[in-house]
């Protein structure tokens, strides 16, 4: 099944989508905020036959995962009709210029420089910039300034190159400076074993961090220099659900997770229950990570990590050329020097070539988990992958299981 696609022409630098608004930063230092729902409505208003795939594709990525639909999916005629609609929608070309899009506001970038990375969490935009980790309040009702025009500085470290949020924590990858975490809610986190480098900022590890992701309450750090590792944490219950505390358990290096790995060879990355590893180009190894086993069977490493499978496809990927990687519900993504490959959860592969400035997936945004946003030289391409609804979620090699919460 081909993905749906929307193309917006412009010279963009960064993108975010959050609660029905599309945020686009351009190279001139302007921030455009669009009414995403209105834009999507404009697309299907001309063809009501395609309303289902377009709405599910771009507005409600969670809708068709509903277990109550299993009876409907079991009806071959209905399932084929749905698939046919998605196929028709994917053949439709949707092109926009900034001028013909439903603009909510245009304002100056509140960070006053092109940010290295960004994340929107609990109505705040966190930006990694030369000035440090900054915050601007977003999703405001103001017509002129839906995002505050001034930033707040959280930390004056200029070296952050990647930002990820989850459970009131913010992961900050600092390249050779190491891995850090901003504890938005410090009360429930960590014993004092981690070094506090600034107010609510702790250093998790001094080793190189290219980027990092959350695997439930644990953390996976990816490095193409020092070797990757997982910081295993667990929640310790308190008297009530609000008083639980996050506890550190231990660090697992690649050699603990993938026993036949030599240090500094290969490339690995993770998200939630999946950890991927490439060595010597082929095959891609997949390890299943069970967060719950840390809580219940401390000391029993075998249950925390289990071999999920190998990808025995004939396509080799040279780990020396890997730039970045990520995981979404619809598959796993690998960016190399010449493009981006989506290894889909249904076994198919989708390749995007061209000068890719930046790409994003939104695995924690319930309504946009099927989105892939790719910024190219003169446009942004917004993809929606919709093959995953009809797959068995517990056995798929590529992609994570549907998540519950958003931000």
């Amino acid at each position: 099944m081909q993905p749906l696609k929307i193309t917006i022409y412009g010279n963009f630098w960064d993108v975010q989508i959050y609660k029905g608004r599309l945020y686009l930063w351009d190279m001139n230092g302007d921030l455009y905020i669009y009414n995403w729902e209105e834009l999507i409505e404009n697309i299907y208003s001309n063809d009501k036959f395609l309303k289902l795939p377009i709405v599910c594709g771009f507005l409600r990525g969670d809708y068709l995962y509903n277990n109550n639909f299993n009876l409907i999916y079991g009806d071959v005629e209905i399932k084929n009709s749905i698939l046919h609609k998605f196929k028709k929608a994917s053949s439709k070309e949707n092109f926009f210029n900034l001028e013909n899009m439903p603009l909510r506001a245009k304002q100056e970038n509140p960070f006053r420089e092109l940010q290295t990375d960004s994340e929107i969490y609990y109505n705040n935009i966190y930006a990694a910039t030369q000035k440090g980790l900054l915050l601007a309040r977003a999703h405001r009702s103001s017509k002129k300034y839906p995002v505050t025009s001034r930033f707040e500085k959280i930390w004056d470290c200029p070296n952050i190159q990647s930002v990820r949020a989850n459970s009131k924590r913010l992961l900050l990858s600092g390249g050779s400076e190491g891995l850090f975490e901003f504890l938005i809610d410090r009360e429930n986190f960590y014993p004092s074993m981690f070094k506090v480098v600034d107010n609510k900022i702790i250093q998790l590890d001094k080793r190189h961090s290219l980027f990092s992701t959350y695997a439930f309450s644990s953390i996976y750090n990816t490095s193409d220099i020092d070797g990757s590792f997982l910081i295993a944490n667990y929640w310790e219950s308190g008297d009530d659900s609000y008083s639980r505390k996050l506890k550190f358990y231990k660090v697992y290096n690649e050699s603990d997770i993938f026993p036949d790995v030599n240090r500094n060879k290969g490339f690995s990355w993770a998200e939630n229950e999946k950890i991927y590893y490439i060595k010597n180009g082929y095959p891609i190894k997949v390890i299943g990570f069970t967060q719950g086993s840390i809580n219940n069977t401390i000391g029993n490493n075998k249950k925390i990590f289990e071999i999920f499978g190998d990808d025995k496809s004939s396509n080799k990927i040279n780990e020396e050329e890997i730039v970045s990687a990520g995981v979404a519900q619809f598959g796993t993504l690998i960016e190399d020097l010449n493009g981006l490959t989506v290894l889909q959860s249904n076994g198919e592969k989708y390749r995007i070539t061209g000068d890719i400035t930046r790409w994003r997936v939104y695995p924690r945004a319930k309504q946009y988990t099927n989105h892939l946003h790719v910024i190219l030289d003169d446009r942004i391409e917004i993809y929606s992958f919709n093959h995953d609804y009809f797959l068995e979620q517990t056995t798929k090699i590529y992609g994570i299981k549907p998540v519950k919460s958003g931000n």
Binding site: T116, Q161, G175, L210, D224, I225, S324, L337, T357, D377
Partner: protein
């Protein structure tokens, strides 16, 4: 920003003697100085958080490609080609070396200089983003 009218520059031998802990120039000394003068002239210089001036330079070869300037330090494993120069000042004297942004975060040119390179046609925004994020790229 440094306002010296005639900055003093001296090539540092540690970046020309196969020191395994230091990146090494492949550019000859004369071209190294020319690159510094270009960097200074274009004001590809910023003040770091300690208010020290730091410069970053690149240039193109005859094929309009970004020029190879040197190689990464041997102690960091696989030798990489380096195409960005970093220039630092100490008591009014400057010296420089090939910068390895991939392994050294401090060798990453700041956004303001990278943007000048983009609008000056030296690199495109794809490369700018990769450098800021510490990622590999076809510089």
């Amino acid at each position: 920003m440094n306002n010296q009218t005639n900055p003093k520059y001296r090539s540092n031998h540690n970046h020309r003697n196969n020191n395994p802990k230091k990146s090494q120039w492949t550019l000859n000394k004369n071209d190294e100085i020319i690159l510094f003068k270009k960097t200074y002239g274009y004001q590809w210089i910023y003040s770091n958080n300690k208010n020290k001036p730091i410069g970053f330079g690149i240039e193109k070869n005859n094929n309009n490609q970004i020029k190879l300037l040197g190689h990464s330090a041997k102690m960091y494993g696989q030798i990489r080609e380096l195409k960005i120069a970093k220039f630092v000042e100490n008591q009014n004297n400057w010296h420089g070396y090939p910068a390895d942004y991939h392994t050294h975060k401090a060798d990453t040119p700041p956004e303001e200089i990278l943007k000048k390179w983009v609008f000056g046609g030296f690199i495109d925004k794809k490369i700018m983003c990769k450098i800021l994020k510490g990622q590999k790229c076809n510089l």
